[in-house]
């Protein structure tokens, strides 16, 4: 038996055992730390869904899945992928069925040729479901580009709420989040976080989105404020952060960046450069005409 055949048989064994259920796996669309996601057919409702099969058969994994389902049941928002079904496969592995999102993950979107404006508008849309969850006492705690999907029509959906913190609920998760996007207070104690931990992660995502573009100073200042070490120095909510990004998009001064006169002049120029060009052209022409008539 060759290495290639062994690798193939490993994949065959990993495939979910769905023979007696309503779902039929069509193909594998992703694999992460917790499990594998398949595009599947829901025979009962005749629609395609995303079916995630958890790797481990442990009680902790099953509990995490159930918890995520309960959290998502509270969060009906167009920017949050709903769970349709949860259960245990014949082989003992836990699974859940989600809406199938057609599009790409944010990390792959970032690699594409998108303008800065498109990226920032997308980021502002990403803040909406997060702010919605915060308003209901839920902190995601694992925001990162891999957990954000960008749909075919530019819609933004937040995935993987399995380690979210729910206000007033006893903490059962010892380690939550991904180090590169994790707020310092979350790294120290995942249980002692609030919405500002997600603001930190959003700031890191914003930095990730604008990285390749030689970002202007106000945007870098927004990132810096969102990812301030102390929660009290950050934006206090995802919506505050979103509003500052939108101010930048509208050519207005942002809260995170105290402008000098030169910065203000440059911003004014950047915002009204067409109008300024027209006025200058008009004045030059007018001057030329005056000079012409005098001579």
């Amino acid at each position: 038996m060759t290495d290639k055949t062994v690798a193939h048989l490993r994949e065959v064994i990993r495939e979910p055992e769905l023979a007696h259920g309503r779902y039929r796996a069509l193909d594998q669309i992703g694999r992460g730390g917790m499990g594998t996601v398949y595009r599947a057919e829901d025979a009962e409702l005749d629609r395609e869904v995303a079916l995630k099969v958890l790797k481990a058969e442990s009680e902790m994994a099953v509990e995490r899945m159930r918890r995520e389902a309960r959290i998502l049941a509270r969060l009906e928002h167009p920017g949050i992928v709903p769970i349709h079904d949860v259960g245990i496969l014949d082989d003992g592995r836990a699974f859940y069925v989600m809406k199938l999102v057609r599009g790409q993950r944010l990390d792959r979107y970032q690699a594409g040729a998108h303008s800065m404006t498109d990226r920032l508008r997308l980021f502002a849309r990403l803040c909406e479901p997060i702010g919605f969850a915060h308003a209901r006492g839920i902190v995601h705690r694992d925001l990162k580009p891999e957990n954000v999907m960008v749909g075919e029509f530019g819609e933004v959906l937040v995935l993987d709420w399995g380690v979210a913190k729910v206000a007033g609920e006893a903490e059962t998760i010892a380690v939550a989040g991904t180090r590169a996007y994790m707020a310092p207070e979350q790294a120290a104690d995942p249980g002692c976080v609030d919405a500002r931990a997600d603001v930190y992660a959003l700031g890191k995502i914003l930095r990730f989105l604008i990285e390749a573009d030689g970002a202007p100073k106000p945007l870098l200042a927004i990132c810096a404020q969102a990812t301030a070490e102390k929660p009290g120095n950050r934006y206090q909510s995802a919506l505050e952060l979103s509003r500052d990004v939108e101010r930048f998009l509208d050519g207005l001064a942002v809260d995170a960046y105290p402008e000098t006169l030169a910065d203000r002049a440059y911003r004014f120029y950047a915002k009204y450069k067409l109008l300024i060009a027209l006025i200058v052209a008009y004045l030059v022409m007018r001057g030329v005409i005056i000079l012409w008539t005098r001579h």
Binding site: T5, V6, H8, R10, R14, E15, E17, K55
Partner: protein, 245 residues
């Protein structure tokens, strides 16, 4: 260097063909576990001796026989504590110990006189070594584990074939073998398979799914026979599926 070698089978022919299952049954309780362990590990042991200890094929055969016989004689398996290490780690450490002693004893430990001889297909192991030599980037631990996985799968395929033959399902096994065991056929469509076997495409879908399910069952049953409790079983399944790799 792995040298000098003889032709596989030539020297093997001098061994009387005692089936190892008789030996493990004679060894008393838990014979199913011992049987499963020996089936799963004799090839990794042989290949390990060839690569790590640079044994010739004859020496590797003798030492494999000697080690397995000694392990059975001396209640080797009862000394293993799953809480302390994986069985593979224990087995390799014991094998290294055995080889060190064999070196001191001038090779007398290869096979103790009167020790039963296991009938093992060394030529198949040798062919696999030639077809899939170890990856230089892979550690010997990784190699040993990969060879264990290969052997578990190979035995599961044999079990599946026997089971299907007994139930008159040879065509189902042939479809599984064509699609999942022939590495050049993974890209075949179900329609192509249906045409090849002159059966409806729906049968290909159902039979292949059933064969894969039965293959999975054979693999898991084999691992279950090799493990002492649920925790060890789960850990071994995770290792087998490459989840913790």
């Amino acid at each position: 260097m792995i040298d000098p070698d003889t032709s596989i089978g030539g020297v093997e022919a001098r061994f009387p063909q005692t089936h190892w299952s008789q030996i493990v049954q004679a060894a008393g309780a838990n014979s199913a576990a011992r049987e499963a362990l020996i089936i799963a590990y004799w090839k990794p042991i042989y290949k390990y001796l060839r690569i790590q200890w640079k044994c010739s094929n004859d020496d590797a055969k003798d030492f494999t026989q000697g080690f397995l016989a000694r392990a059975l004689e001396q209640d080797f398996f009862t000394g293993y504590d799953p809480a302390k290490a994986r069985f593979r780690t224990y087995l390799r450490a014991s094998l290294d110990h055995f080889m060190t002693n064999a070196g001191k004893a001038g090779g007398r430990l290869k096979r103790s006189s009167g020790a039963p001889v296991l009938s093992l297909d060394y030529s198949a192991a040798e062919n696999e070594l030639s077809a899939d030599p170890p990856d230089p980037a892979e550690s010997i631990e990784e190699y040993f584990q990969a060879e264990w996985v290969r052997q578990v799968f190979a035995v599961a395929v044999e079990e599946l074939q026997r089971d299907y033959a007994a139930r008159g399902r040879e065509t189902r096994f042939a479809i599984f073998a064509r699609y999942d065991l022939d590495e050049d056929s993974h890209q075949l469509t179900y329609d192509q398979l249906a045409a090849e076997f002159a059966i409806p495409a729906a049968n290909v879908t159902n039979w292949l799914a059933a064969a894969r399910r039965d293959f999975r069952r054979c693999v898991l049953e084999q691992v279950r026979r090799m493990t002492a409790d649920e925790r060890e079983f789960r850990n071994e399944v995770r290792a087998l599926l490459g989840i913790d790799a």
